[in-house]
C-alpha cells in the first residue's frame, strides 16, 4: 500500500507528458498524500508509467510487462 504523508512522488515516463496527462498524474499522487512530483524521462521503459512513493513502486511500464511475458515464456 502507498504510504500517506510522503511529500515527493518520483514519476518515470518514456516521453514528456502533455498538460492533461500531467494533471491526471498530479491528481493521482495528491490522492496518495504527495505534494510534489519529480519527473524522469527514460525511453528504456518504452511506454507506460512508474510511480515511486516512499518505498512503494507502482510499475505500469511496457518494459515491466515485457519482462513479465518473458518470465512467463
Amino acid at each position: 500500500m502507498i504510504k500517506r504523508g510522503d511529500s515527493l512522488a518520483k514519476v518515470t515516463l518514456a516521453r514528456e507528458p502533455d498538460a492533461e496527462l500531467s494533471e491526471k498524474i498530479s491528481a493521482f499522487v495528491r490522492g496518495r498524500g504527495c505534494t510534489g512530483i519529480c519527473y524522469t524521462i527514460d525511453p528504456k521503459i518504452i511506454g507506460g508509467i512508474i510511480i515511486c512513493i516512499g518505498d512503494t513502486i507502482l510499475d505500469g511500464s511496457v518494459r515491466s510487462r515485457l519482462d513479465s511475458i518473458k518470465q512467463s515464456l
Binding site: L13, A14, R15, P17, D18, L21, K24, I25, F28, G31, P43, I46, G47, G48, I49, I51, L58, G60, V62, R63, L66, D67, I69, K70, L73
Partner: protein, 176 residues
C-alpha cells in the same frame, strides 16, 4: 677183531665158548657209558641248539607275522586315507566348481548391472542435456521474442497509445 675170530672159529668152536659173558657186560657198560656220554656231550647240546634254533625261527616267524599284520594294517590304513583323500578331493573339487560358477555368475550379473547402470546414466544425461537444450532454446526464443516486441513497440507505440496506457494504469491503481 671179534668178527675175524668169530669167522675164523665159527666152524671149529661153539658160540658159548667164543663169547665171554664178562666181555658182554663190559661191552654193555661201555655202550651205556658211550650212550650217556653221547647224550650228554652231543645229543643234548645239539637238541638244545635245535630247540634254540626252532625258538629263534618261531620268533622270527612271529615277528614276520606281526610285520605282515602291521603291513596289512598300514596298507588298509593307507587305503582308507587314500579313499578319504579322494573323497575330500572330490568334495573340494565340487566346491571349487560351485564357487567358480558362483563367481562367474556374480561377475556376469555385476557386469550386467554396470552396463544397465551405464545405459540408465547415459539416458539420464541425454535427457538432462535435451532438457537443458530445450530450456536454452526456449529462453533464446523468449529473449528474441521480447527483443522483437520491444523494437516493434518502440517504433509503433504512439504518444496517444502511451497516454492511454498511462491512464489505464492510473485508473487501475485508483481502484485498488
Amino acid at each position: 677183531m671179534l668178527m675175524t675170530i668169530f669167522q675164523g672159529q665159527l666152524l671149529a668152536t661153539p658160540l658159548s665158548e667164543i663169547i665171554d659173558p664178562s666181555s658182554i657186560i663190559f661191552h654193555l657198560i661201555a655202550l651205556v657209558i658211550l650212550t650217556v656220554g653221547l647224550y650228554l656231550l652231543l645229543f643234548k647240546p645239539v637238541k638244545k641248539m635245535v630247540k634254540q634254533r626252532q625258538e629263534k625261527i618261531r620268533k622270527i616267524e612271529k615277528e614276520n607275522a606281526d610285520l605282515n599284520e602291521e603291513v596289512k594294517e598300514m596298507k588298509s590304513s593307507i587305503e582308507l586315507v587314500l579313499s578319504d583323500a579322494k573323497k575330500e578331493a572330490a568334495v573340494i573339487q565340487e566346491n571349487a566348481v560351485k564357487v567358480a560358477n558362483q563367481k562367474a555368475d556374480d561377475i556376469v550379473s555385476s557386469a550386467r548391472r554396470q552396463a544397465k547402470g551405464m545405459v540408465e546414466r547415459t539416458e539420464q544425461e541425454m535427457e538432462e542435456e535435451y532438457r537443458k537444450l530445450k530450456e536454452d532454446i526456449e529462453a533464446q526464443i523468449a529473449d528474441v521474442s521480447v527483443a522483437v516486441a520491444e523494437k516493434v513497440l518502440g517504433r509503433k507505440l504512439t504518444p496517444e497509445d502511451d497516454k492511454k496506457l498511462i491512464e489505464e494504469s492510473l485508473a487501475k491503481w485508483s481502484k485498488e
